[in-house]
Amino acid sequence: MLIAGGGNAAMCAAIMARHGGASVLVLEAAPKAFRGGNSRHTRNLRYMHEGEDGFLTGTYPEDEFYEDLLRVTGGDTNEELARYCIRQSQDAGEWMSAHGIKWQPSLRGTLQLSRTNAFFLGGGKALMNAYYDTAEKMGIRAEYDTEVRDLNIEDGVFRSAVVEHNGQTREVAAKAFIGASGGFEANVPWLKEYWGDAADNFIIRGTPYNKGRVLRELFDAGAKSAGRAKGFHAIALDGRAPKFDGGIVTRLDCVPFGVVLNKHAERFYDEGEDFWPKRYAIWGTLIAGQPEQEAYCIVDAKSIDMFLPSVFPPFEADSVRQLAAAMDLNPAKAEETVNAFNASVKAGTFDPTTLDDCATEGMDPPKSHWARVIDTPPFYGYPLRPGITFTYMGVAVNKQCQVLFNEDQPSPNIFAAGEMMSGNILGKGYLAGFGMTIGTVFGRIAGREAARAVV
């Protein structure tokens, strides 16, 4: 059995396929140091549980989980598949522990999600190390720096794949194929098909290896798609983040504590609209819609310690004018915008833990909560850019993870798992730790079903 990809879904599939008696070859496009796709950057997994299981507290029943999913997707999901995914996630903690995963006991200083989300000790790379170690002990072969270039598919049946390693190509025949090689967010030309030149200014938060080549091959062979092609999950990032692979440390949650200006030093959206994670999820797309995909957040000394530190130091100045100049904004215009904002702030009781009554009056766009005058030097500024986490479009699958070809025909030996098929369930929005749920649940199903097909 051939598995394209080397992240969470791929390794869960490999392990289950091996349990099912298949001989498994995992092809990871990245070198060993960067193995694991976007799973490297994850830190937790959300799963359903009806009682304490030693990893999570309380209960997190199917209906509540599904409600949470409905809320973020606005109904853009496949209920049957989504509920199936949720139910199948039930034993995740136990299964993962049995396959070498270690958990973080309790988490301080960040979200308390210990009822719904279990945190891996050391994060996603540690998780992937543990899976690779388990896989190696089980006799699963993994080849790094090895990319699947072409798929030889006849009428929805997989025959072989052409793979490239160190510039050498070879053909690998297998009885079944599992695609678990992620979306196409690192393929800028593909993003440009929907976003035009703006895509050049996007930052890709995760692996540079998610080029979507396998996805494209499957579409070309007639696989049905699921999820919006133009859709991606994006957040506001520090604009100085590296183009790829910056992961978690470049995200910034300063927006509600200040004002956000675009390239023309104008405000463009209500910074105080809502809490994390909703604001977290919309600001990437908002900035993507601004000129040159840039924005600048300005806070003052009152607020600088109210959000998690960024990896890059903020710009700092004694006046808004100087700060704007340092960030290449029009100083006079920036000062005018901040002054107008300050003049519109009505008195209130500031409380970042509630939707407080600090708001602007007669300002368009308004700042509906947490609005405080920006008047205490030093002033701090952060450049912002949209950072893409993942793309939504993938291949359509059934409950067995079989990829659907022309007229909804499930392929007998082509399966997909993880980000490559998450669009079936997650049409838009995001629920913390749900990508790992999808990868773990459907990775295991794909591995089990594919083993049934070949053994």
């Binding site: 301080r108 960040t110 050391g122 994060g123 790379k125 590296p242 440390v249 470049t250």
Partner: protein, 372 residues
């Protein structure tokens, strides 16, 4: 002051870590980091001494080399920690001892052995040195009691004093008032963590040492060295008690307390030091700091030689080789104690101070409401 380059790098790395925080569950360094938003010299020096170089964070790091952020926490903190040993060495004039540690420790030890040999030959004569002595007081027939105990006591108390001086100036610099040190609960927590090697357990499966796989072998070997050393120390103390209060002269019978403690401790130290040296020889050099590794190896060799020559002396104490072995053993012990304040032994002193500060911070933390 630690090297500004080392400080800068540790600051850079910790700033990245503080925006990530995935490693929070591994050890005490990361919670200590989360208590701070920026890191000044005293913070970084303190945190570097909280690090037990278990390397769990290195292999778990999404930003480890070859990532362009090149985050290498164990290496950055080891560099700073090695600077600590120099910065707090007492007296200051001897801090250079850390610069060429292996050579200087070797030199001092060799001089001690040669000196012991020459003095014994001159004052006791070759017949005494090279013939067998048996029964009570046999050792003192070769090296008189006063010649053995007086220099040893001076060196021992000198070492204790020098290490304490280092401890106090480290504490002053990283935490502040000496009054803060009178903190029973923090002391107790630090003792428990130090004696149990809490931070060599990682998430429960040990360090990523010598390679990326989890293993407790480093912890167990360290335990052998530490408790072996403690047993040998206990043996010496009991022997001193026998000598002064019971008026029994060494050598003691094979089944006496000092000999049993000394033998078991010596064997433990031999196994522990050889094991650690072996693990180090196989260890992944990417997260390592060369200078620290050299300090480690030098000190491990000294401990090995001390215990091994002690065991040899025990085995051959009834033969004509006893005199030579005794002189070599005493020379090695003298070398060990003279150089202890300028060796890797210092890690115990500063780590312990860091653990006390950590215990105080943890307690302060627990009494605060942690906002989500």
């Amino acid at each position: 002051m630690p090297s500004s380059e080392h400080l800068k790098e540790a600051d850079r790395v910790m700033t990245i870590c503080n925006a990530c925080r995935y490693c929070a569950g591994f050890c005490a360094v990361f919670p200590a980091m989360e208590r701070r938003r920026t890191f000044d010299t005293k913070d970084l020096v303190y945190m570097s001494n909280l690090c037990f170089e278990c390397r769990a964070c290195y292999y778990a790091c999404q930003y480890a080399p070859p990532h362009e952020f090149g985050v290498n926490v164990p290496q950055a903190l080891s560099r700073l920690r090695a600077d600590t040993y120099e910065d707090y060495a007492w007296p200051r004039v001897l801090k250079g001892f850390y610069k060429n540690n292996a050579f200087l420790v070797g030199l001092v030890t060799t001089v001690c052995i040669v000196l012991a040999f020459v003095l014994t030959l001159v004052f006791q004569g070759s017949t005494t040195l090279f013939s067998a002595h048996q029964g009570s007081g046999a050792f003192y027939a070769v090296v008189p009691y006063g010649a053995m105990v007086f220099p040893a006591s001076v060196m021992f108390f000198y070492a204790i004093f020098a290490l304490l001086a280092g401890f106090v100036s480290f504490w002053r610099r990283t935490r502040g008032s000496i009054a803060d040190l009178i903190d029973v609960s923090a002391f107790a927590r630090a003792v428990k963590e130090a004696f149990g090697l809490q931070y060599m357990k990682g998430g429960g499966d040990g360090c990523n040492y010598p390679d990326e796989k989890f293993s407790k072998s480093r912890m167990w070997h360290h335990h052998l060295v530490f408790y072996g050393f403690a047993l040998d120390f206990a043996a010496t103390t009991v022997a001193a008690f026998y000598h002064h209060f019971m008026h029994w002269d060494a050598p003691y019978p094979y089944l006496s307390v000092p000999v049993v403690f000394g033998t078991v401790g010596g064997v433990m130290m031999c196994i522990g030091t050889v094991g650690l040296l072996y693990l180090k020889s196989k260890s992944d050099l990417d997260p390592a700091e060369e200078k620290m590794l050299s300090l480690d190896k030098t000190f491990l060799w000294m401990l090995f030689l001390t215990s091994f020559t002690g065991l040899l002396l025990l085995v051959f104490r009834e033969t004509a080789a006893m005199g030579t072995l005794l002189v070599i053993h005493l020379g090695v012990v003298a070398g060990l104690f003279l150089t202890i304040p300028y060796s890797k032994f210092a890690h115990a002193v500063y780590r312990y101070a860091a653990l006390i500060q950590n215990a105080i911070e943890v307690r302060e933390d627990e009494s605060k409401i942690v906002l989500g």
